[in-house]
């Protein structure tokens, strides 16, 4: 196993569980990869902590009043790091329990079945029957931003929360920019988001993006679309940034810090891949089939390095497929439903086909929607800024997509994934009892609205059941 991120350690543990002798090579001392150390986990911790700042303010109108909350940044950082350390230690512990050998060092392929590992103690050479490559990805840092100035951050540095800048520029309105922008905005920064495309979170449906954008517009200072950064330079303790908007007018500003979140690139450099039979695409991702096999019979690849959606649970799923392929079980990653979640506030989550995709494919479908304004539970949270949407294939009445925006959407989407994997029809969802009062009821009511009989909205339909 090359790489101990969510793909790597999952594969290592599964292979060990199935009786294989496993060596897990990881260049960082702490296991867990980007997700655990400088990605999913710390960002969610910070989001949770920082959201309280916003909630404390809102609490006033409910009659619960706080003095304005103060931030002890060192303590926040230490708490976040504590979580990361605990989880990383947990991964190490599980590895030990399973008899997985861990080797700290950077791996380099000398051949298809031979790896040179540069460890702190010197070089080690490893030979093996099969290897799974799970080296992951890193934040993209285009040349125009790469000034060697620590005030220009990628997500990795941003999660260190060294300081809360007064003015923060976030370049890129994707999920990383929006999540981390929210953290800093909650903690007191005035945040400007600059995005080259026409909106944030491209890829999600517009009706699901809308509540996220509205919330961001309240918390951030500004969101600018169709805007590029043309120049960036250091100016004393600030960063001078020149942007160009759709009117082609250049604007020069000073920011205390800049977060560059324009995407992630695969970590294929300096791996010795050229010494193997592996093929890569033009962007460097390793080419794999649906069984995670590469063009080299001894090597498989999973997770971010193998392309596709760059999500931790996709890597973990591919870990299962890869190990099953190695042990000879017929496995495949084809047809697996992978959900996507954006942990802004409100959260945005979807799985299967989006409404835009369904329309583009010319599918005969209906989007059955339930607005959270009609959800009793949402109102108790003061969070009616939500929407649950089911994409239903009219030919079979099967649910082929689920999209949700709102408080806790990230948890709720799992029901959508299960429904799709089970081949559920919209009736299956409508007729499954969901507890009241919960946000999960919105899924059931969206399904009921397909038949025009959702209790808490009035949208009658002429439909034969």
């Amino acid at each position: 196993m090359l790489g101990a991120g969510p793909g790597g350690y999952a594969a290592a543990f599964y292979a060990a569980d199935l009786g294989k002798r496993v060596l897990l090579v990881e260049q960082e001392k702490k296991l867990g990869g980007v997700c655990l150390n400088c990605g999913c986990i710390p960002s969610k911790a910070l989001l949770h902590a920082s959201n309280i700042m916003a909630e404390a303010r809102e609490s006033a109108h409910r009659g619960i009043l706080f003095d304005p909350p103060r931030l002890e940044l060192d303590k926040l950082r230490a708490w976040k790091n504590g979580i990361v350390d605990k989880l990383a230690a947990g991964v190490g512990f599980l590895a030990k329990k399973r008899g997985v050998q861990v080797l700290t060092g950077r791996g380099y392929f000398e051949g298809s079945q031979s790896l040179r590992v540069e460890t702190p103690e010197g070089q080690q050479f490893v030979t093996y029957d099969k290897a799974i490559i799970a080296v992951g990805s890193k934040p993209a840092l285009p040349k125009v931003f790469d000034l060697g100035n620590p005030r220009i951050m990628t997500s990795t540095e941003a999660l260190e929360v060294e300081e809360i800048p007064a003015d923060l520029l976030v370049v890129g309105g994707g999920y990383i920019g929006m999540e981390l922008g929210s953290v800093y905005a909650n903690l007191g920064s005035k945040v400007v988001v600059v995005e080259a495309l026409a909106g944030i979170l491209t890829g999600a449906d517009p009706d699901l993006i809308r509540p996220v954008l509205q919330s961001a517009q309240k918390r951030f200072r500004e969101l600018r679309f169709n805007t590029k950064v043309t120049q960036m330079s250091s100016k004393g303790r600030k960063i001078r940034v020149v942007t160009e908007g759709p009117d082609k007018v250049e604007k020069e500003e000073l920011f205390d810090r800049v977060l560059v979140s324009v995407g992630r690139v695969p970590r294929f450099h300096d791996l010795g891949l050229e010494n193997t039979k592996i093929e890569q695409d033009e962007r460097g991702f390793i080419k794999v089939n649906d069984k995670m096999q590469t063009d080299d019979p001894a090597l498989l690849a999973i997770g971010d390095i193998a392309g596709g959606v760059m999500l931790a649970h996709k890597a973990s799923k591919e870990a299962r497929v890869a190990v099953e392929t190695i042990v000879g079980e017929p496995s495949t990653s084809a047809g697996v439903v992978i959900p996507a979640v954006v942990f802004t506030d409100p959260e945005l989550a979807w799985c299967g086909v989006t409404e835009s995709e369904a329309r583009a494919q010319g599918m005969e479908f209906e989007a059955a929607k339930f607005p959270w304004g009609a959800s009793g539970r949402a109102l108790t949270f003061d969070r009616t800024d939500g929407l649950t949407k089911l994409i239903v294939d009219l030919a079979t009445e099967r649910v082929v997509g689920v999209g949700m925006v709102g408080h806790g959407a990230g948890e709720l989407i799992a029901e959508g994934v299960l429904a799709m994997e089970m081949g559920a029809t919209v009736r299956d969802l409508a007729e499954s009892v969901h507890p009241h009062p919960t946000l999960s009821e919105t899924i059931m009511e969206a399904a009921e609205s397909f038949y025009g009989v959702a209790t808490h909205t009035f949208s009658p339909k002429k439909r034969e059941e």
Binding site: P330, S331, T332, E397, M422, G423, R427
Partner: protein
């Protein structure tokens, strides 16, 4: 209401429209034929299940239509939809050109659950609705889940459907070979692009051609076939024929070599009953028939068809000639019925009318022997020490070596030769 093509039985699901028997506006009666459908070798009318007025005809001559496809629109009595054809229905039962009724019941009426909606799923069919557990099981068992029909809501495949599907597969696999050949899927064709080497023309196989191909393949694969060659001196026989031909013409019958052959063969079969048999592979029994129905291979424009003449031993040559003429004409006009092609015990295939010498005929399954005749030709023959020109008839006897041994074959052949060379003229009177 739309009249649809009912199930045709025995794994056949389509046919070609070779005749349209009604017009738009016609008032038709229940049971009246509406179209003529060619399936395999038989052409038969499809009856209307109800009376009414034909408002629209939905098919054209030459159309290939499938079971369930609408044929025409009928206005009038709202009777039930066309019922599936009962075995006795006039709708043709296809496939076996000269074969008898099969030993096993047709595998057509299967239990509904688990039966695949179609045996060959479309290449781009969407993945079937099935839980991860079922999909995993499918992978482990090597099943294509697109062939399994799901019975749960929305067409989802559940364990019960997999169970029923596998049971159906086992049931089909255990059927006697004669039955499964009808439902066996076609082997994958190797894709050779013949156009690479020059111009080509493609012609689809007609139902008749397909039926011939299937019949010949089955015979070839099942039967260890030996062909015994010989020649018979038919100089005298030919003179007999020439002398009598006129008289027969006056009686409306054409006296040909085949007419003689029928009687000669029938006589020989009586003395060598092992050539008048069928092999029951399932029961390990050889069935000796006490009747003599001889099939005659007829070369039609569309292909080879074998109508059967019944009780050849009991009929005189005049009757046989007349029947032969009738049946050959009917066959060439494709008016022959399936029944008239069944029940044969032996087959004669005479190429002599066209030409040809010795050849190796394929046995007309489930018979165990077949006689091929070539063209009689003048040859130099040694008789009593002298070379004389004699009219010699090439004979080729193919037989199933599972049932018949070489010795029996030689003896049968000698009997036949004797029959041709010393035909009793009295039989012609």
């Amino acid at each position: 209401m739309d009249l649809k093509l009912p199930p045709l039985g025995e794994g056949v699901d389509s046919g070609s429209v070779v005749g349209i028997l009604v017009r738009e506006g016609d008032q038709i009666a229940k049971g009246q034929g509406i179209i003529e459908l060619e399936t395999g070798k038989a052409v038969a009318p499809v009856p209307s299940p109800a009376a009414g007025k034909v408002t629209k005809i939905l098919v054209s001559l030459g159309d290939k239509i499938s079971v369930g496809q609408a044929i025409l629109c009928l206005e009038g009595n709202a009777s039930a939809a066309v019922k599936p054809a009962a075995p006795a229905a006039p709708v043709a039962r296809p496939v076996r050109p000269a074969g008898p009724a099969k030993a096993a019941p047709p595998p057509q009426q299967e239990p509904e659950a688990g039966v695949g909606a179609q045996d060959e799923p479309a290449e781009d069919a969407p993945p079937p609705a099935a839980s991860p557990t079922i999909r995993r099981l499918g992978r482990q068992l090597g099943l294509d889940l697109r062939r399994v029909r799901g019975s749960a809501s929305g067409g989802r495949i559940v364990m019960e459907d997999l169970r029923a599907y596998i049971q159906r597969l086992q049931h089909l696999a255990s059927q006697p070979r004669a039955a499964t050949s009808a439902t066996a899927s076609k082997p994958a064709a190797p894709s050779i692009d013949f156009a690479k080497w020059g111009a080509i023309t493609k012609r689809p196989m007609t139902p008749l051609r397909k039926a011939i191909a299937t019949h010949m393949s089955e015979s070839w694969q099942a039967t260890p076939r030996v062909t015994q060659f010989d020649e018979a001196d038919i100089t005298a026989l030919n003179e007999m024929r020439a002398t009598r031909a006129g008289a027969y013409e006056k009686k409306g019958a054409r006296l040909t070599l085949t007419s003689f052959a029928l009687k000669i063969v029938a006589g020989a079969l009586g003395r060598h009953p092992v050539f008048n048999t069928s092999l029951d592979e399932a029961a390990d029994e050889v069935i000796y028939k006490e009747y003599f129905h001889i099939g005659l291979a007829v070369d039609t424009e569309q292909g080879l068809i074998v109508p059967v003449l019944r009780d050849v031993d009991k009929k005189d040559i005049l009757t046989l000639c007349k029947e032969m003429n009738d049946i050959a004409a009917k066959t060439r006009e494709r008016k022959i019925s399936l029944e008239e092609m069944q029940g044969g015990t032996f087959t004669i295939t005479n190429q002599g009318g066209i030409g040809g010498g010795h050849f190796t005929p394929v046995i007309n399954r489930p018979e165990t022997a077949i006689l091929g005749l070539g063209r009689g030709a003048l040859k130099a023959v040694v008789r009593e020490g002298k070379i004389e020109p004699r009219l010699m008839l090439p004979l080729a006897l193919s037989y199933d070596h599972r049932v018949i041994d070489g010795g029996a074959a030689v003896r049968f052949m000698l009997d036949l030769v004797k029959g041709f060379e010393h035909f009793d003229e009295q039989q012609l009177v």
